[in-house]
Amino acid sequence: MLLSPLLAWVVPEYLLYIGNVLMMDAMLALGLDVLLGWSGQFAFAHIAFFGIGIYGTALLDMRAGVPFLLGMPLSALLAAAIGFVIALAAIRLRDVYLALATFAFALSMQWLIRTWDSLTGGPDGLRIAAPALFGIVVGTDRRAFVPMAMLLASMLAAMLHLTRSVLGRSLAAIRDSEHAAAASGIDVRRSKIAAFTISAFCAGVAGGSYTLFGSFIHPDDLGIWQLVQVLTMIVVGGSGSIGGVLLGVGLIGVLPELLRLAPAQWLVWQELAYGLILMLTVMFLPLGLRSVLRRNLRTTVPPRTRRGTPTMEHTAP
């Protein structure tokens, strides 16, 4: 009874829209987590690379006639190249200095997009023409859904490969102790540069994917608010884990849609709600919800008796 007005309102096309947004958020968040969760680098230029992906793909298509299948990878490569250059400077910084410097870069990119109006449309925003895939114009949520799912699936496959790779393990080691990592033979500089570059590439892909279903982009959509949203997803779900990030994207990504059901005068509280969720999670669940779900699985395993000649054997305290 109560659900019926809801069901009438939430038409399938709308659900597909939410699905597309969530898949884009997932790509964005997975990319940022390569830096935050895997390498422990608090770098916040991510939203700029996302913007490069959106504007790059859209403008290449609209101004130069470069099709999506070429324009999107080119834009992501451009984001990766800029990420690489940023990394050369960023590896000298750490903690709050790194956060500030990379965030300043994100803001300057936002400023550039806003100011360069002959190319980007500036403060008027940019109406994105629907791209075509194999001669079929996409543009609607229904048509974008399958290509979006394929993009996300490829990125998930790449991320799974990364978590099992030597590079992935090196990044996790750097996150936990740069000294132990370096003393074990890990090239800390090279690994961090790789992480920055991969992360920027993912943000570029996420940005490019937006042009498949989004019809409009404005420089205001590339600011601190969007960054906080992605950060909240990662932190709430659990950084450093693909499952955790996806969990966070699912929970936090549907929040704006749920808030849409709330009375209009509540909407001003939305940003506060994100800030509050982020704060509370950092204070009480620094490893995210995932850590609660997995707590029982990864604690100390009780020792079995085994034969052999252990040189330093310990009994449980």
Binding site: S165, A172, A180, V188, R298, T300, P302
Partner: protein, 255 residues
């Protein structure tokens, strides 16, 4: 016997503090060489110069005829020098097994991530087997899937050592391995160090405050205070040296 490892007139400054002042030591292959001195004497700074976390303004560090000062930090273990850390630098969000796999990094070719699946998996299996052998030898095999940060302190120290040993070093730098261990654990450490040096031929430099351990295992002892060497010799000779008594117990005890 020629030295495997030499530190020559090393000078290291932190701002206005002269942390090392023309410090020198020669380490014979296969020996256990203890480096002792009061807190702040510069012992860990010596290790940090060897690890290339610090760059000295003067002097040289030579391992196997090769200067280390031209090498970046991650190359040191490839040359055969591994270390542990005073405050246990564990990879605490990773599992025990992963910690030791990280220790094997220098034996894994860098292009491994780009190999086809089957060869990569075979290489990973091989690495896991080697890591498990190291864990087994140190009695940590049953904890291999535990998160490193959840181990008790004694096991964390053993894991730090396991990570270092996994690289199969020729020279092992141990920074206060006995600190915080119980008596029984110190006895086990004693046996382990002797075993590593005598059976496996690993040369060990041991920074340690637990004198009972130093006197029992060290072939030679170098005493460091205020950044320079006070004395060096076999343990029994160093123990009674007036400068050592003074540095450890103060002037009154000596008088």
């Amino acid at each position: 016997m020629t030295a495997l490892f030499s530190i020559r007139d090393l000078g290291m400054r932190f701002g206005g503090l002269l942390a090392l002042d023309r410090f020198a030591m020669d380490v014979a292959p296969g020996s256990i060489h203890a480096l002792i001195g009061p807190n702040g004497a510069g012992k860990s700074t010596v290790f940090n110069c060897v690890s290339r976390f610090c760059t000295p303004f003067a002097g040289d560090i030579v391992f196997d005829g090769r200067s280390l000062l031209a090498e970046p930090p991650h190359r040191i273990v490839r040359l055969g020098i591994a270390r542990t850390f005073q405050n246990v630098e564990l990879l605490d969000r990773m599992t025990v097994l992963e910690n030791v796999l990280v220790g094997l990094t220098s034996h894994v070719p860098r292009y491994i991530d780009f190999l086809p699946g089957a060869r990569r998996i075979a290489a990973e299996r091989h690495a896991v087997r080697q890591a498990e052998e190291t864990l087994d030898a140190l009695g940590l095999l049953d904890w291999r899937h535990a998160t490193a940060g959840t181990l008790d302190f004694g096991r964390q120290k053993v894991l730090d050592l396991a990570r270092a040993l996994a690289s199969r070093p020729r020279l092992l730098l141990l920074d206060e391995p006995a600190a915080g261990l119980r008596n029984r654990e110190i006895h086990q450490l004693d046996r382990l160090l002797v075993d590593l040096a005598r059976q496996r031929g690993i040369t060990i430099i041991l920074v340690e405050h637990v004198m009972q351990l130093v006197m029992s295992v060290a072939d030679r002892v170098t005493v460091l205070n205020f950044g320079h060497r006070i004395t060096e010799g076999p343990p029994e000779a160093v123990r009674g040296h007036p400068a050592v008594v003074e540095a450890y117990l103060g002037r009154d005890a000596h008088a």
